[in-house]
Point group: C2
């Protein structure tokens, strides 16, 4: 198997991408096609002894985390994402993995790989931490405006990914809303609810509120890209707020400050359980190729985990499954 | 001044509502018209010595926290909310305060008080905790489907409430979106953005993401009721998740568990800063009368604080101000 890895994706590229490539090649025995400016990557690769399963593929340019996604992809045809996805398209690589600019990955994928036939809109996904594991949430930002049919397709794609790549048995699919009863929510949600009820291939559990998601009462959370993006960003922001306020209050109290040092390992373990970087990235579903997007703040281990997700998606033949399911 | 208080509103009514009424009458020197089944309230009131400024107003019925709002209001015309709002409508009370079922308060207000002339849709509001205070967020659930004009009106109503009742000078008004730049967001947000830019009466700071809200970079957050509801519920759910996971991890570690006892006061102070019950309730804006809704889990002190918010809204003549601003 050959995994194409964006050598320039993420806040700490190329250091962590190269390190992650080395770890992944060693741990999983796959070939890594590492894409980016060759001199830069070669220099970084010199740090490691065994690089036999890593092949550098030159791409002159790359897209920064803060660039306007679509504009950057258009302006830089030789960016590492577009070049890497081209390898997948041509069959030279089996999956594309990046920890870079999510919007740019979406734009490059639409441009280079295109959609699976029958898919109206691809969806960005994430693994969202819950009390006892994770939930797959989609769409988290590819489509700010959605139609009910898109949400039905997100549900089917999320279900197949959860079943076959994450290997969750009989995943419960919920529709993010503002009340559990049928009929709660905006017009989009109400109409999507009806469609999802009729979708026999999935185990639809109805509307879910944020509380049910974090409690682990649902495996796949379906929502439009605007709401989904607000959802994940609110969760991240609130967690940060809570910890920041706690830090301020601890600082005011010398005894508490001393005590917190003794509780440090519990805090670290908590953060690890809630940190999306631990989960190994999540797919862009509905494009004609495996595309896995890891967290921008990924370290080498997170990059390695994102590669593993790519391997699992290839082994599960997810694109074939989606193609088969959605063309009907 | 006479504040009408729903004696049966909230998870812990009538104990905490009666206690809160007594505290408010004592602390603020106002008259409280306490509405609910008279025998029940009278029994509860016996616990207190000075009840001279509290008048019981009989309402045979009340709406539970878990009832379907509109249906319950229709089925129970003698519920404490409708009876209480009728007092405000007839000029016998200056403001209505409840810690009860939010949806029912909205339904009863629309039915009994009606909208201010010119207001397309009333908005539910909340004070959302930030790093250095609070932000007023609206709409948080009254209107699942919104038009750009509604959001413009929410902005104007929120601005006036923030200025005159909360006494925040020159409040910064932001539009909740999934990117800070103009043009980010769904169609509703994009169109509302243009309207808000043209609204000279407010200090519009553009799109804001959840991160900016919690960091205190905006005072009034404008959003549709679906997104606003997901926003506040996600924040609450995530905070709970973080603390639940932390508790689990602390339990596994005896040293950490012991240390946490020493840090307890810092945790308590943190919770207090982030607890909406501390903020004294928030208004239903756009109905023809002052309606303040406190948290369902309110204790007596929170009920007292909600009454204080009602007093401040009356003193600031907020309904007059909204009427004047929105009829033009």
């Amino acid at each position: 198997m050959r995994i194409v890895l964006d050598g320039m994706g993420g806040d700490h590229a190329p250091e962590v991408t190269v390190a992650g490539a080395v770890q992944a090649a060693r741990d999983f025995g796959v070939h890594i096609l590492l894409v980016g400016p060759e001199p830069l990557l070669r220099e970084e690769l010199k740090k490691y002894e065994d690089t036999s399963r890593i092949t550098l593929v030159h791409a002159a340019d790359w897209i920064r985390m803060d660039e306007h996604p679509a504009a950057a992809v258009r302006a830089k045809p030789q960016n590492s994402m577009s070049v890497g996805m081209q390898l997948v398209k041509q069959g030279e690589g089996d999956a594309f993995v990046t920890c870079g600019n999510t919007g740019a990955a979406l734009a490059a994928a639409l441009f280079t790989l295109g959609r699976i036939r029958g898919v109206k809109r691809p969806a960005l996904t994430t693994l969202f931490p819950t009390l006892d594991g994770q939930a797959l949430v989609l769409d988290i930002g590819a489509n700010a405006d959605c139609k009910p049919l898109y949400l039905q397709q997100f549900a089917r794609m999320g279900d197949l990914y959860a079943r076959h790549v994450l290997e969750w048995s009989d995943p419960r699919v919920g529709l993010l809303s503002i009340g559990e009863e049928a009929g709660k929510g905006n017009t989009l949600v109400q109409e999507a609810f009806s469609l999802l009820q009729e979708t026999e291939a999935i185990h639809f559990v109805g509307n879910v509120e944020p509380k049910e998601v974090v409690q682990g009462q649902v495996d796949v959370v379906v929502t439009d890209g605007f709401t989904g993006n607000v959802f994940i960003k609110t969760a991240e922001a609130t967690g940060t707020l809570l910890l920041d306020v706690l830090k301020e209050e601890v600082k005011k109290r010398p005894v508490a400050a001393a005590a917190m040092l003794l509780a440090k390992s519990a805090f670290k373990a908590t953060m690890r359980r809630l940190d999306p970087r631990e989960f190994g990235g999540a797919p862009l579903l509905g494009v004609n190729g495996v595309v896995i997007i890891g967290h921008g703040r990924s370290d080498a281990y997170a990059v390695r985990n994102a590669v593993r997700t790519g391997i699992q998606a290839v082994e599960a033949r997810i694109v074939e499954r989606l193609t088969h399911a959605l063309m009907s």
